[in-house]
Symmetry: C2
Subunit: 353 residues, 2 copies
DNA sequence: TTGAAAGCGCTACCAC
DNA sequence: GTGGTAGCGCTTTCAA
């Protein structure tokens, strides 16, 4: 038997493998799909034939009969792609891609622009072209997850969605914010302010909740004067910091709900002649590449983004394999990364979960 | 006739549409695929039935007979995903996604990790699961495009690939670098240095070529002392700047081949007590979000990233529809964005292509 | 202009 | 444990 070096496998069918291995198409199918009920002898013969011919199953033919596509859609609506600086987007995708590859499933990427486009995408998904949907949503008000669930399309959301009853994976925004505030308090700061994100976005609301939670725990009164909100942009962060300094000149620390806003806040502090961290300590959120470009380097809360993608995929696959059971949700731990912006004495490099 | 509100379209077949419209399956198929040879009356009846039933063609069944998948793979090898700070990755994808949606084609995303994984991906692609491949490659030494072309899989590369004969779309790195240098010369700078990228990467080599080209044009001698290379990282940029300052203390401008390296270079200049732009003017490349976070804001060369994705897709589709003709390549214009880092007098805001 | 019918390659059921 | 075979939903000849 001459082993031909595998060439382009297009066109090789089950039929040909079967005839080369002297078995029926059914047997080849069983071997290819890992069915146990195949004799040792047949199995070896089929495997050899598959190898020799470089056979690869035709997905379309398989889908047609199994009614599965073995593919999953990842939907990234417009605003989610606009995350500046922080490579959030490639990181979730990497996590998802890894987990799907393990299951030999395809990743179909959809990036609708605007509501109209989102409608098109919704119809596409409802048409059953994919086995399930992963939705990376930064604005919780998205109607898509609800619509999909209504159409009984398996769906998992990344980030806390507005409605309930939908499986999702989120980062522990409260816990992350809480640990940042705790760190500042432990360093002896008395007047810890915060620049929060938009309160109609889950991460915005949750990080502010974590701030309040930790202050309450330490029996620090929450002073409304010390709370500002901004829109997750650099300029927004700068302006918010300026307002805080005007209202509460005695503040000695600030927890900022994103690194980008923190960069803006640092500019405002510098403009006001406040030394970082001596006069004002500052901690951001995201642990983005920005943190090491600032002067001094910015302490920040790190999120396990790849893991989020992987976990979303696991949940979805469970969802696809057996519709039923209570909707599952997973909250992933964050980690505080301490840098010079929050440590007055040119001190250590501790970190905590 | 009662118009039922479209519900989940799964399960509605050509057959059902045909029977509702009182025509044959063949006729429905013709209407759905825009075949001209259908009577007005039949066409209207079919369209109504399609609408009423919410019919959506089954892709698998169609693929099985047409032998097309109507899908395109986008391959992003590991290192390409590591682009810091700059949201290059989401932007190309957005461009590709838009262009594919216009053609009703699916985007299948593949993110191989390491050479082994890339082999798997290569076999997958060669198996004909997609109609064509878009490869976003930052390191030109990738074996994938060559392998795919050998297997006669239509492929278009983003960024100049090493081998020739492969269609690609690239940004005008030479021209961009050239315009940056021209700008510095026009501002009266005499000793223009450069921090280049790795010379085994196309953008690294091309941007350096543009630098030399423009100096030659201005009959400035190229002084080897004024050229340093680094690895596109922040630290690399800082170290390269430090070396330049040591070797050529009289330099009064520097063109840096990436914004991230430019941020590092600015840190080195600051550490050396050089004022920006008064002592040393600086221009980066990418026009990333970083440019507005630096002090002063960084002049930079902007690249049309979304357009690159769109153009890649157009080329690929042409490639898929009719294999033949000379391999096409497209070079997209860049634009210099002038900010304070390169303008001594607190001057204007000009820009040039 | 229209319809009948032959598959595309595969899985899964049923019989042996 | 194995093989025969009936479709999955669609496109595309070929005739009419």
């Amino acid at each position: 038997m001459v082993t031909v070096h595998a060439r382009r496998a297009v066109g090789v069918t089950l039929e040909q493998v079967a005839s080369l291995a002297n078995v029926s198409r059914a047997t080849v199918s069983r071997v290819v799909n890992g069915d146990r009920r195949v004799g040792e002898f047949s199995r070896v013969a089929v495997e050899a034939a598959v190898h020799e011919l470089g056979y690869v199953p035709n997905r379309a033919a398989r889908s047609l009969v199994t009614r599965r596509s073995d593919s999953v859609a990842v939907v990234i609506p417009e605003p989610s792609a606009q995350v500046f600086g922080d490579p959030f987007f490639p990181r979730v995708l990497r996590g998802i891609s890894d987990a799907l590859a393990e299951e030999s499933m395809q990743l179909v990427l959809l990036m609708p622009q605007g509501r109209t486009d989102e409608g098109r995408v919704g119809r596409y998904l409802a048409a059953g072209h994919v086995d399930g949907v992963l939705l990376v949503s930064l604005h919780g008000s998205d109607p898509l997850p609800g619509a999909l669930q209504h159409d009984r399309v398996p769906v998992v959301v990344g980030g806390r969605p507005r409605g309930s009853g939908i499986p999702y994976v989120d980062v522990d925004n409260r816990g992350g914010a809480s640990s940042a505030v705790q760190h500042l308090l432990e360093r002896g700061r008395q007047r810890v302010a915060t620049i929060a994100g938009p309160q109609d976005m889950a991460p915005g609301a949750d990080r502010l909740a974590g701030y309040h939670e930790r202050l309450a725990l330490a029996e620090h009164a929450s002073d409304p004067q010390l709370v500002e909100t901004a829109d997750f942009t650099l300029d927004g962060g700068r302006d918010a910091m300026a307002r805080l300094l005007e209202r509460a000149p005695d503040l000695d620390a600030v927890f900022v709900a994103s690194d980008l806003m923190a960069v803006g806040a640092m500019a405002a502090l510098r403009a006001a002649g406040r030394a970082i961290p001596d006069d004002v300590a500052i901690v951001g959120f995201d642990d983005s590449p920005l943190t090491t470009t600032t002067q001094p380097p910015l302490s920040s809360v790190r999120q396990p983004i790849e893991e989020m993608g992987r976990e979303m995929t696991r949940l979805l696959i469970r969802e696809i394999r057996s519709l039923g059971g209570p909707p599952r949700r997973v909250i992933l731990d964050t980690q505080l990364v301490v840098r010079e912006s929050s440590v007055a004495d040119a001190g250590g490099d501790d970190s905590r979960g």
